[in-house]
């Protein structure tokens, strides 16, 4: 194979090379003006930003003046730089929104919103237990997330982002989700066991 490639390489005709380079240079172009589907992670990042405005944290856990409102990501970052872009110059009740990335749940306890990018039920269970009782809005993509005690789970139906809310877990953390947001969510049985 290597010899074949090399022999082909030797055959490169100067004219062909020239045409190729010309093509690339003459055609700088820009993106298609058509509306292309948006990456799901970008839409989810904007949802996370929106959640900051549609959820109320208890008055017992007020942030001190100037302290940032932290949106954290635990595990591998699936958002690229979308999260930074969506909170750029944004504030919640005067506190600047800041994105932080964590690999260990113990470091993530100062978050207000935590996106948990872990898939295995054991890891999820361990993580959720570690922050039980704290006023952290937990969000994830993991299939069993809401059922294993997480609060908000994103899922995709017909190429559109939807989310599920586990009311029980939200109440346990003393958080209040606005009714406007709840109307859009798929609410899991709030009666529960």
């Amino acid at each position: 194979m290597q010899t074949l490639i090399r022999s082909l390489n030797h055959q490169i005709d100067n004219t062909v090379k020239y045409i190729l380079l010309l093509l690339i240079f003459v055609c700088p172009g820009t993106s298609w003006p058509q509306v292309n589907p948006v990456p799901s992670s970008e839409v989810k990042a904007v949802f996370l930003f929106n959640f900051a405005n549609f959820v109320d944290w208890p008055s017992t856990s007020l942030l001190s003046p100037g302290e940032p409102f932290i949106i954290g990501v635990l595990g591998e970052n699936p958002f690229g730089s979308y999260l930074e872009k969506s909170v750029l110059n944004e504030k919640k009740d005067g506190h600047p929104l800041v994105i932080k990335y964590f690999s260990n749940i113990e470091e993530a306890k100062n978050c207000r919103i935590l996106f948990i990018n872990l898939q295995s039920p054991e890891q999820l269970h361990h993580t959720l237990m570690a922050i039980k009782g704290l006023n952290i809005l937990t969000v994830s993509d993991a299939p069993e997330f809401a059922k294993s005690g997480g609060m908000i789970r994103f899922f995709i139906v017909n190429n559109k982002v939807r989310f599920q809310v586990n009311m029980e877990a939200v109440k346990d953390a003393n958080l209040v989700i606005s009714s406007k947001m709840l109307r859009l969510a798929e609410v899991l049985n709030s009666e529960g066991p």
Partner: protein
């Protein structure tokens, strides 16, 4: 001609080599060329990264302005999305969007297809159309045409009559409001699409029910299209369960024949529904159906009616892997009272398709299908098929592998379709496609494919009037197609696509002199042909308020008989095509909700055939003026304005016409 063909062949070779070499820019090592190309590559990736950064900032900013409800309606793709279909990357695809259709003033599917620059679309009379790609728009016959080298699908349902191997365009009246897009691929789509996709594939894709919620009502009246009314309502039964129902009817009056009124007026009533159930993240289910009833003068009554129902279940294993299982039933009935001939066709179809990624570099699509066409005819004095009832079974399977040779740079797709049909048995239709994408604004592609057209009932079963000795030795018509294309965005807001092709056809249908036949002729496979041509299309968003789209086609073809018994005129019988054609659509969005649209077309002359007269070249112009006020839109459309009437395919003259109406969307 031969010289040009040789030149074209050489061009194909040059480009194919070019593509091979381009891989070496990154794969091979050691030379000066490699270093230079690496620098260029770096520059390109840098500039495109910068561009991407800017783009995403503005997209994110735009998304932030939306309400959460609106956010939930944004169509998203997963990052590790399914590789783009190669039919889109490496083929001459043209897409007609819902907006394009609405802005053109088209009221029926064939009119909408005029917007695809890579199709030949000619209105034969009030209800019949001749539609083809890359030539072979064949002679008209009994209320349709023999054009048989195009595969047409509506939401996955193949619209095919085994009677002559083509499409009855009069009865394909989808509600255009609910059409999401129409994809038109010129060139053989043999690998994935099945038999008879010899010269092209038309794929009509309607919106899912959740995208058509609420009320749509439209009514119009005019001079040629006398009246047209359509109503659709879409609703939600459960959080993940959506539906829509629709109904429409129209009356269209006569064309002219020798400057006096012809008798080919017709009307049709149609209704249907669609239900989409997004059961879980991984499973979705679609059920849809239509029924119609119509009466056409041809010049006496032709009664048409039909029903169809389709179910499709899609299971997503992951972002790049899914399984789709689909079944449909289609009933088409036509009663030609003027020749006392009936055709009653029931089609049962089941197919499954599975796609997945393999070893990172391969994306496999494979599938299999079963189709039963239960066809019954009432033979008439002027048209007799040997078997008045025939069950035609079609078995097919396909396998395609899209191989990433160099990521984001060079992709090769190899595939083949295997099928078994009633008349010619086993057929194999392989293809190879290569797409070279030096950057996101330039794609060069090339393809070589083989496709077949299997005989239809009129070819293989007709015992009268053309023959009483049946030709049981008819074989499939074959094409080997060489294609080369280039898609580019030369600057912001403009997209250009050029495709060239060189096709060689063998065993084409011929009309041969046969002394033993009472009519003196018989169908044989004694023709060969070579065609070559160029298709150009341009989309240009000059300003936010002015959009131009247009195209130009050149077609050259050369027929050759392989037997001395072939009737002269046999070649024109198979292909009544314009050498040149062009179209241009212009859309102005003016202040205060006013829109002004124009569609201009030029079609070259058509030669006279055994069944049709010479048709002179013509220009035509359609204009549409619309005003949107709140939920209402008022419109007036003038069609074929440049002359009082013109001929497009046969002797019938299409009159200049006007219609106006009102649309309401709640």
């Amino acid at each position: 001609m031969i010289k040009t063909v040789t030149f074209f062949n050489r061009l194909v070779r040059v480009f194919r080599h070019n593509e091979w070499h381009s891989t070496q820019y990154i794969m091979a090592g050691g030379s000066r060329v490699r270093i230079i190309s690496f620098i260029f590559l770096l520059l390109f990736s840098l500039t495109s990264t910068l561009r991407a950064e800017q783009d995403t900032t503005s997209v994110t900013a735009a998304l932030k302005k939306l309400s959460m409800e609106e956010l939930m309606n944004i169509e998203v793709t997963s990052v590790s999305k399914t590789p783009q279909k190669l039919t889109e990357v490496a083929s001459a695809i043209q897409v007609i969007t819902n907006d394009d259709i609405e802005q053109s003033g088209a009221t029926r599917l064939p009119e909408a297809l005029r917007l695809a620059p890579n199709l030949e679309v000619a209105q034969v009379n009030s209800h019949d159309w001749a539609i083809s790609a890359r030539g072979f728009n064949a002679a008209p016959l009994n209320g349709s045409t023999l054009a048989d080298k195009l595969l047409v699908m509506i939401d996955g349902r193949t619209i095919y009559t085994p009677l002559f191997g083509g499409v009855f365009w009069d009865v394909q009246n989808v509600l255009l409001e609910d059409v999401d897009r129409i994809e038109v691929v010129s060139g053989p789509g043999g690998t994935l699409w099945g038999d008879n996709a010899v010269n092209g594939v038309i794929n009509v894709i309607s919106k899912s029910a959740d995208q058509t919620q609420g009320l749509y009502a439209s009514a119009s009246a005019g001079s040629f299209l006398q009246d047209h009314a359509a109503v659709r309502y879409g609703g939600q039964l459960a959080p993940n369960l959506f539906y829509r129902v629709y109904g429409q009817f129209f009356d269209q009056t006569n064309t002219l024949l020798h400057d006096t009124s012809n008798r080919d007026n017709w009307n049709m009533v149609q209704g249907g529904f669609r239900v989409d159930y997004f059961a879980t993240e991984k499973n979705s289910l679609t059920v849809q159906g239509d029924l119609y009833w119509g009466l056409e003068n041809t010049p006496t009554n032709l009664i048409v009616n039909g029903q169809n129902i389709l179910g499709r279940w899609t299971h997503r294993f992951s972002d790049s892997s899914d399984l789709r299982v689909q079944a449909y039933f289609d009933h088409t009935y036509r009663n030609y009272s003027h020749i006392a001939f009936d055709d009653d066709l029931k089609t049962y179809d089941l197919d499954a398709q599975h796609q997945f990624s393999l070893f990172k570099r391969n994306h496999i699509v494979w599938g299999a299908g079963f189709r039963l066409m239960d066809d019954s005819v009432r033979n008439s004095p002027s048209l007799v098929l040997r078997d008045s009832h025939l069950d035609l079974i079609l078995l097919s399977a396909f396998l395609q592998d899209q191989i990433t040779l160099v990521r984001n740079w060079l992709e090769l797709t190899l595939g083949t379709k295997l099928s078994s049909n009633h008349y010619t048995g086993f057929e194999i239709q392989p293809s190879a496609r290569l797409a070279f994408t030096p950057n996101i604004h330039n794609t060069i592609w090339a393809a070589v494919s083989r496709a077949v057209h299997t005989p239809s009932r009129i070819d293989a079963d007709q015992v009268f009037p053309s023959m009483n000795i049946l030709n049981t030795n008819l074989v499939s018509e074959k094409v080997i197609a060489y294609e080369l294309g280039y898609r580019v965005e030369p600057f912001k807001r403009m997209a250009i696509s050029v495709a060239g092709y060189y096709n060689t056809y063998t065993d084409l249908r011929s009309i041969d002199i046969d002394a033993q036949s009472p009519s003196g002729v018989i169908f044989e496979n004694n023709q060969r042909a070579q065609t070559w041509g160029v298709e150009l299309s341009v989309n240009y968003w000059i300003f936010d308020w002015w959009h131009l789209r247009g195209g130009y086609n050149y077609l050259s073809k050369q027929f050759e008989s392989t037997s001395s018994s072939v009737l002269s005129g046999s070649a024109v019988f198979e292909g009544i095509d314009p050498k040149n054609q062009a179209m241009l659509q212009s859309v102005f969005k003016l202040p205060k909700g006013i829109q002004f649209e124009a569609v201009g077309r030029y079609t070259d002359s058509l030669p006279a055939s055994i069944l049709t007269p010479y048709v002179p070249h013509y220009f035509s112009l359609d204009l549409r003026l619309a005003w949107t006020y709140k939920k209402f839109e008022f419109f007036v459309v003038g069609k074929d304005l440049l002359s009082s009437s013109h001929r497009e395919f046969g002797a019938e003259q299409i009159p200049r016409s006007i219609y106006g109406g009102i649309t309401c969307r709640l």
